[in-house]
């Protein structure tokens, strides 16, 4: 903001300073961006030197960040000027007009460039579901993949050809669970397959959604309805396929055999209490055969395995009858409607879309570029290059987040019911019924 850390102080001057380039642009970003050199990269990519760019660290716990942003916007605070938000919870802000409609504010040419060049699913999470206007620019996409221990699988009789195949043709859940259990049997690792099954936002949007979709189920009848219209879409959580999805998730832990596929229990009960950092560190210290996690975990595993006997492999998520599906992750950038420095903020947005900045971002923080055309750059990198194929498969088989204004309410219900099924406190059928009932009620009330 113009006056530094202050508030909407200079009400009368806001208008004019908003049109002039200069002052400070505060970006609600994250610790990975602070001191990452991205500010210099932005300046090099065209932001005038008169503009000071400040990267701030919001609380990284997704919930608190959301809460802080909500507060700031509700309070019509002028800071931050730009925010990086999870693509999973931006739409509610968009539909409430809590973010600037970039389609209106920025020049057409830039907007269409973004639409053309950007990863489609990321663009979707930044688009108003009804008007189709673009509110947010993708910053980085994130893709879930399976990281696995090639060394252990080799012991179980699999070889490079299998690894080769899986990169673009993942095994089914049934096959996958067999592979893991074989690998486990022949080794002394503690755990088989790790994923994030805790009662938290990630279960609803992502890990469970992946099971659900690959088994043919859906929250709201199909992918088209994920962004609404709320109240005018079917709730299909108690459909046969949806129950299959729950059963698949339960089976991979407990191996009850209720799912249509023969999935054996290769995940520890603990996954129902774990989230990303837990599985990441467990996998990295060699205690597990496989792990589902986001892109950044590849980098972690690479460095963790360096100089050990462990060998890293990466493949897309296993497939169900409906194929292999990956939840869309990543962050997009939007503008605070109460910013008092809009002109400069626009410059920052534009610069950020430059290849040089996105490449810098990948180099410095392992964040994927949001432009498919830059994937080549990733492919060439030492760390990610070898695993690029799997990532690309994942990027091509994405399910967007089901973000609507009521999704936060719905996701807590889904997470909590599914988690309790994972802990076998209730059967998949019961969980499905409970979800169906409560989600429908929410849909109706809205």
């Amino acid at each position: 903001a113009g006056g530094g850390g202050g508030g909407g102080s200079d009400g009368s001057t806001t208008g004019s300073s908003g049109d002039e380039i200069g002052g400070t642009v505060t970006v609600f970003s994250g610790s990975a961006f602070v001191d990452s050199g991205i500010v210099d990269a932005l300046h090099e990519a065209g932001v005038p030197d008169s503009v000071t760019i400040e990267m701030t660290v919001p609380p990284q716990d997704t919930g608190s960040k959301q809460q802080q942003l909500r507060t700031a916007i509700n309070a019509e605070e002028s800071d931050p000027d730009l925010v990086l938000t999870d693509n999973g919870w931006t739409i509610p802000f968009i539909v409430r007009d809590d973010l600037v409609n970039l389609e209106e504010e920025m020049d057409e040419e830039f907007i269409s460039r973004v639409r053309e060049e950007g990863v489609q699913s990321m663009i979707d999470t930044g688009t108003h579901p009804e008007t189709g206007d673009l509110y947010s620019i993708p910053v980085f996409p994130d893709y879930p993949v399976i990281t696995y221990r090639k060394d252990l699988l080799r012991n179980a009789g699999y070889g490079d050809s299998d690894f080769e195949t899986w990169r673009s043709d993942p095994p089914t859940w049934a096959e996958f669970s067999t592979i893991v259990s074989e690998a486990m049997g022949g080794s002394d690792v503690q755990y088989g397959h790790l994923w994030q099954g805790n009662n938290y936002a990630g279960l609803a949007c992502c890990t469970f959604n992946e099971f659900l979709t690959s088994m043919g189920g859906a929250f709201f009848g199909g992918q088209d309805n994920l962004f609404g219209p709320v109240g005018d879409r079917p709730v299909t959580l108690d459909s046969e396929e949806s129950i299959d999805g729950i059963e698949a998730a339960v089976d991979i832990i407990h191996g009850t055999g209720s799912a249509p596929m023969d999935i054996s229990g290769v995940s520890p009960q603990e996954v129902a209490g774990w989230i990303e950092p837990d599985t990441k560190s467990t996998f990295e210290n060699g205690s597990a055969v496989t792990q589902r996690n986001w892109t950044y975990s590849i980098g972690g595993a690479v460095s963790a395995f360096e100089g050990t006997d462990m060998e890293l492999g990466v493949m897309p998520l296993p497939a169900g009858p409906n194929g292999s599906w990956h939840a869309q992750g990543g962050w997009i950038m939007s503008m605070n409607p109460y910013t008092d420095n809009m002109a400069s903020a626009k410059e920052v947005i534009k610069a950020w879309w430059e290849d040089s900045v996105l490449q810098h971002q990948f180099d410095a923080a392992n964040y994927m570029p949001p432009k498919p055309e830059l994937f080549g750059y990733v492919e060439e990198s030492d760390t990610y290059g070898p695993y690029f194929e799997a990532l690309q498969y994942s990027a091509e088989n994405l399910i967007p987040r089901p973000t609507t204004s009521v999704w936060p309410n719905q996701r807590t219900i889904i997470a909590s019911e599914v988690n309790s099924a994972l802990r076998q406190e209730q059967s998949p059928q019961e969980a499905a019924t409970a979800m169906q009932e409560q989600i429908s009620a929410i849909e109706e009330q809205s």
Binding site: G7, G8, T56, V57, P59, T62, Q68, K280, S281
Partner: protein
């Protein structure tokens, strides 16, 4: 003379340094220490009681301190290690240094200390006046006013947040009458004012209770000696209520120091923007990773000022203050 004095003698004996004044020397030598103790305790049940207290206390302390010990353990663990052992493999204090290298942790601490100190001083002062009025004076409307104070604490603080935030940030007129100066938001004032208001009811209640218990005679003596009513409050009643004042002070200080909600939302995120120490601690969390070791180290560092405060304030909580003051 006092109870304490007696306990004191006993306690010293447990440390093995006390004199055995009550015992008969001579035959003590050829009995086992246990026999001697048992004998001593039978003759001197106070001692047995004290031993029990110490033992019980030991057990309690261990359980209650274990989490702290464990926090220390976490701080010693290498980054990213999830399996924290009961006994650290190595003594590695580097986390305590890194905390300061990675974020301006000292500034975070300063910010919180500043809040805590300012609020504590302000609240003690203002609550003392109110506590005096409630505790020692008779006036109409006392009960309703006290009750109004209580009612404030019935509501979750979050309830008050939105209106306050708007008042500070959007110049929504307070009481519908006037707006706060825009300069306040983003300064410590925006944190100090509401936190003072939230911590005040407890402080008022504590001080009311303590001030009410000081015998009238002492205040009367002070007034005859030449103090004003207010002077008597600060010169006699407050010092004599030292346990209460110190307690209210410590409680306020700690509450504000560890407060999260308001100091977090009313300030920016960076240390330079008056973010509190909690911000400094959670700065070690990124979206998918948490540096537990750094967080633990940061927390341990963060409680040092409180530890110092407690040590200092302890002396104010002196035993049996009114002793020898009055014939009642």
């Amino acid at each position: 003379m006092s109870i304490d004095a007696r306990n004191h003698e006993d306690a010293e004996t447990f440390d093995g340094t006390g004199d055995e004044s009550g015992g008969e020397p001579g035959d003590d030598e050829n009995r086992s220490p246990i026999q001697r103790w048992a004998d001593d305790w039978i003759r001197n049940p106070e001692k047995a009681y004290a031993v029990m207290l110490v033992f019980l206390g030991g057990v309690l302390l261990t359980t209650s301190l274990f989490p702290l010990y464990w926090l220390f353990n976490v701080a010693m663990a290498p980054p990213g290690q999830t399996d924290i052992p009961l006994i650290p493999a190595t003594i590695d204090l580097s986390a305590f240094v890194q905390v300061f290298q990675q974020v301006p942790f000292a500034r975070f601490m300063f910010n919180s200390l500043f809040y805590a100190f300012t609020v504590t001083v302000f609240v003690l002062l203002v609550a003392s006046l109110a506590g005096y009025a409630f505790g020692r004076l008779e006036f109409r409307g006392k009960t309703p006013l006290l009750f109004a104070l209580l009612v404030l604490s019935f509501f979750p603080p979050a309830t008050l947040f939105i209106p306050l935030f708007r008042a500070f940030n959007q110049q929504v007129p307070m009481l519908g009458l006037f707006t706060l100066p825009v300069e306040i938001y983003g300064t410590p004032g925006a944190v100090v004012a509401p936190l003072s208001a939230f911590t005040m009811p407890l402080a008022i209640f504590i001080l009311t209770t303590f001030y009410g218990q000081i015998p009238d005679g002492l205040e009367e003596a002070a007034r005859v000696e030449g103090t004003t009513r207010l002077g008597a409050l600060f010169r006699v009643i407050m010092p004599l209520s030292a346990p209460g004042v110190a307690t209210a002070g410590i409680l306020t200080f700690i509450t504000v120091y560890t407060e999260f909600f308001f100091s977090f939302l009313m300030t920016g995120n960076s240390a330079a923007e008056w973010a509190p120490v909690v911000d400094g601690v959670i700065a070690f969390q990124t979206q998918y990773t948490v540096r537990y070791d750094l967080q633990a180290a940061a927390s341990l560092i963060a409680i040092i000022p409180v530890a110092i405060l407690v040590v200092v304030a302890q002396d104010k909580i002196i035993s049996g203050l009114t002793q020898g003051a009055l014939k009642e």
